[in-house]
């Protein structure tokens, strides 16, 4: 199980334990899950693919930035790859902070950056057996990456 990218089901407890911190008063968790509908079409599963080594660099960089920008105590991000069924979590983000304001803001920043910068692609599988790669966000090469 990779630290940032894994093909196994995501488990929250180990991430929460990693961020255990007596100076933390607020923890915000975001889970992205496979929804049964997208853009009006019924979805039955999603395959996620990653450029693994690059994705690990990017997720690790987003963790560091999140801590620095929002002054939170810690941030951990994990993204799953492979075939996911309805309801399964594709991404888990845990932020621990002194107070809830910065915890929410940092969590929101982290998931927005993951969607914008992580080299990860999803292929939606539809009821009829058809499947499709979704249009996404063009990657740009920035110093932060």
């Amino acid at each position: 199980m990779g630290r940032w990218i894994t093909s196994e089901p995501l488990a929250l407890e180990p991430l929460l334990r990693e961020l255990d911190d007596p100076a933390s008063g607020a923890v915000v968790v975001f889970l992205g899950t496979v929804r049964n509908e997208n853009e009006g079409r019924p979805v039955r599963a999603i395959t996620y693919e990653a450029h693994e080594r690059l994705a690990e660099q990017v997720l690790s960089a987003i963790e560091r930035e999140t801590v620095e920008r929002f002054g939170v105590r810690g941030c951990r991000i994990q993204h799953r790859t492979g075939l996911l069924q309805l309801g399964e979590a594709s991404v888990a983000i845990v932020v621990s902070a002194g107070h809830r304001g910065e915890a929410y803001a940092a969590s929101r920043y982290a998931i927005d950056e993951v969607k914008r910068r992580a080299p990860i692609w999803k292929e939606e599988h539809y009821a009829g057996g058809e499947s499709r790669y979704l249009d996404g966000v063009p990657l740009t090469h920035t110093a932060e990456d």
């Binding site: 992205g32 996620y48 693919e49 990653a50 450029h51 080594r53 690059l54 994705a55 660099q57 993204h79 594709s90 991404v91 998931i111 993951v114 969607k115 914008r116 910068r117 992580a118 080299p119 990860i120 692609w121 999803k122 292929e123 790669y133 979704l134 249009d135 996404g136 966000v137 063009p138 990657l139 740009t140 090469h141 990456d145």
Partner: protein, 82 residues
Amino acid sequence: MRVTVVYYGGLKQDVGMRSETLELPDGALRVGELGEVLRERHPALAGRLHTVAYAVNDALVDADYVLQDGDEASLLPPVSGG
């Protein structure tokens, strides 16, 4: 020189393969120029390259990155993780 090209996301369906290893003339070839070479090999790439980013050996690079013998170049279409 030899360069391995890896296609990610929908690109691997467009070109019908996961990766290919090309023998290219020695000399300064930029990764953006590699894109032109690939578009000639795979007409399905036409109209898609302008939204593609390039990584070489696990680092994102600009289009003017100069390829070296043995490089692995990844073509990264617009992302949809999360």
